[in-house]
């Protein structure tokens, strides 16, 4: 045995004890993080965080406590991934559904061209078909794309271009709901669901 081994022999147990002690501390701090990953900003987050922290008292060793906390943490990460994936999938599906409905309704003839060409007259007056329960629900407003843009573009000056606004509407997943809302509430100003005041008047003209 060399002289150098002596400090190692003395220090090693100390280091191991240190690691073990820190493990318990770490476990206590990881559990609230895990709860946040699982539940986000819900009331269940704080319930589970406290519940899980209490459970550490049922686990004898600090290392086992850490393993337990890491288990919750890993599954928390997994649930975040699942949540993001399902949100992306849902958005894709909504985009597609909105486009299909718009096509059905005759609001869009060619998904790429019709919305971006305000001057182009529609040949047949489009017929809107939107289930009543959807129009009653105003939740669509929170998904509207225009919420994050320059509001002025949606209220162009007389003779100004509504092109920019229409471009946004074309990509918006709730443009059909938006247009229906504007027609129902007789909105007089601004671009709604990709149509200007004038275009909307033409739509609702026969009925009025």
């Amino acid at each position: 045995m060399t002289i150098g081994a002596v400090p190692t022999l003395v220090l090693l147990p100390l280091i191991l004890a240190e690691i073990a002690a820190w493990s318990g501390w770490l476990a206590k701090r990881l559990l609230p993080v895990a709860a946040f990953l699982h539940y986000g900003r819900t009331s269940r987050r704080s319930v589970r965080a406290e519940e899980w922290s209490q459970q550490l008292q049922d686990i004898p060793g600090p290392l086992s406590q850490l393993v337990y906390a890491l288990g919750h943490l890993m599954s928390g990460f997994a649930s975040v991934v699942v949540r993001i994936a399902s949100r992306v999938w849902r958005k894709k599906r909504l985009d597609r559904d909105a486009l299909l409905r718009a096509l059905d309704a005759g609001l869009v003839r060619d998904p790429d061209v019709a919305w971006l060409d305000p001057g182009h007259p529609t040949e047949t007056p489009p017929v809107l078909f939107i289930p009543a329960e959807e129009t009653a629900d105003l939740a669509w407003q929170s998904r509207a794309l225009c919420g994050g843009t320059d509001g002025d573009a949606f209220f162009p000056e007389k003779g100004g271009s509504s092109h920019a606004a229409k471009r946004v509407c074309a990509r918006c997943e709730v443009n059909v709901e938006c247009l229906q809302y504007a027609l129902d509430h007789d909105e007089r100003f601004g671009v709604w669901g990709g149509l200007t005041e004038k275009e909307r008047r033409r739509l609702s003209g026969p009925a009025a």
Partner: protein
């Protein structure tokens, strides 16, 4: 009746433990459920989340006496709806004896971590 979308094996395990506690007329806390089901914490709690969302179980905090300052234990019990569903599901999927024939007491092992002194009434 509110339901749960999927009835998985862990769900049945958790329901079995909860039903046993129900028959023993006591509430049971998360760690006991984890121990008795031999499932991991995250598995048990993903089941509990769904059961809670469907109002099949109800949780309450343990009442702390003056000195205790730490995190509280949380106890769970089946709601009436939960008892019905647990009996039904376990009867179908685990072919336990029905509620009329001696109840789900067949495998009434004493709970591993339960101790009378810990019992909260």
């Amino acid at each position: 009746m509110a339901g749960i979308a999927r009835v998985t094996e862990p769900t049945l395990d958790v329901l079995a433990v909860l039903l046993r506690a129900h028959h023993a007329n006591r509430d049971i806390y998360g760690w006991e459920i984890k121990k008795q089901t031999h499932r991991s914490g995250p598995t048990v709690y993903s089941v509990m989340d769904r059961l809670e969302d469907a109002d099949l179980i109800q949780g309450r905090w343990e009442q702390q006496t003056g000195q205790d300052k730490g995190p509280r234990r949380r106890y769970y019990r089946l709601t009436d709806e939960g008892v019905d569903l647990a009996r039904q599901l376990l009867g179908v999927r685990r072919s336990l004896p029905g509620p009329d024939s001696g109840l789900g007491m067949v495998d009434a092992d004493p709970p591993l971590t339960w101790h009378p002194l810990r019992r909260v009434t």
